[in-house]
Symmetry: C2
């Protein structure tokens, strides 16, 4: 139990490779990923704890994932929890690293690369958007937030167990590997040489960057992508701002871009069929 409570700080997590998954939705998704032989996400459950009021459905889901359920008192559950409101179920898991080359070898159509992203809520929400929009993987560069921090795990709403997440690769290596694999890199920028509307117009005719393999490259939530980094991507793309707002936040920007990619893939598929 003390070991579980100690999982809250990054150095401990990194050295032990273990992270906490709290609450009904995330634990259910975790167990489903473990039970699914076709899952693209490598994750292992080390321990699963339920409180006194836990739904008996966890026992069935745990059995399907071949995980033992340990019951704990409300006090013990609260001591282990990171969430402000202790949840009725909690797991300790570790993930099997997914390599960037492994993702690229799978011929991805859409990736999203987060460069030096620090905010847990934004990073987790981007993983959720990648999942919802059918993207192939998320890459977090060196210097980004720990994707297994409890707030990131919560913000993914279970999507951490659906979409492969690659971590700890320097941005230059990501750009070089994408180029070598024929994946075009699209950096979001306030002053891009093109904008998302133009790319979507092009995609509606079955052509352009969004209809071919591509990776969105997005910078830190506070200072964006440095101009020198954006310059190394294949294209710089602005998201149209039509009112007086200065910008969208990172999670909103990623969601809009990833849904544009999803529509473009659909248009390209329609053209192929025609």
């Amino acid at each position: 139990m003390k070991q579980v409570a100690r999982l809250s700080g990054r150095p401990v997590r990194a050295s032990r490779g273990r992270f906490l998954v709290e609450g009904h939705g995330p634990v259910t998704e975790l167990l489903a990923a473990v039970a699914d032989p076709g899952s693209r996400v490598g994750v292992v459950v080390d321990a699963l704890y339920t409180g006194p009021d836990a739904d008996p459905a966890y026992a069935r889901a745990a059995a399907a994932a071949r995980v033992e359920v340990r019951t704990a008192s409300a006090e013990v559950m609260a001591a282990m929890a990171d969430a402000v409101t202790p949840q009725p179920v909690l797991a300790v898991a570790h993930s099997v690293d997914v390599g960037l080359q492994q993702v690229l070898d799978g011929r991805p159509r859409t990736l999203v690369v987060l460069a030096q992203v620090r905010d847990p809520g934004n990073a987790g929400t981007v993983v959720r958007a990648a999942d919802a929009s059918g993207a192939d993987a998320v890459v977090l560069t060196t210097g980004s937030v720990d994707v297994h921090a409890p707030k990131v795990v919560r913000s993914t709403a279970g999507s951490l167990f659906h979409v492969p997440v690659v971590t700890g690769v320097p941005l230059d290596d990501v750009l070089a590997a994408c180029r070598a694999a024929g994946v075009r890199t699209l950096a979001t920028a306030a002053d891009g040489e093109t904008d998302l509307d133009a790319l979507q117009d092009e995609a509606a005719t079955g052509r352009g960057a969004l209809t071919e393999p591509h990776a969105w490259v997005m910078g830190n939530e506070a200072w964006g992508l440095p101009a020198a980094d954006a310059a190394r991507a294949d294209h710089r793309v602005s998201i149209p701002i039509l009112g007086a707002a200065e910008s969208l936040n990172l999670a909103m920007a990623a969601t809009v871009c990833l849904y544009a990619s999803a529509r473009a893939r659909r248009a390209a598929a329609g053209q192929d069929r025609a």
Copy 2:
């Protein structure tokens, strides 16, 4: 100063009609809105405080808005602040209510209605998305979060001072007023009779709901829009979920819908010109 610190709780804010605006970006946007005779947002600054390290630019912006600047010590700034990190500038403001009929009389093209939304971050981010996407106004129904709570104000990133926000109207009254004004209501729903892709395909040909005046109606971040409420809207629209994610969060869903509206207005304008 004590009166300023007391602005943190809703009953006090509601009875006094005053709210806190903290930090460089939001205060700058507030002063710009006050100084702009064409602003669609009615807002009045009651007091403006800067700490010892404040940028002298505030004095110029305040002068343009005819607001007096009061300087305060770091301790006093911290005592007045709601933000965890006290900001170098802080204003007390009150807004002039915008009525729903006033918004509808302005012949809006796109509105977003939040029904019983409680989460401050989600509500504020939707106001920001409405601004960025060029929507005409945001409506928060009775029972929604106080749009002037400090966390909502922060999450709007200044957009609260760009886009009119109507509050305290029951959902049934909003739906009836939209119908009377010829504004079609589109409720987001997991099992809609149409989806956003279909609406966008239709809009690309210059037709359909998105090319005409419409209001997105979105439910609470936890339980969505009750089926009985969705049934009273003109259409129920699903956002395609292409991966294994269960859903998008409210702010992401609103951003995707509002950007689809923006593209549709642009397509309709192009057709008009053609």
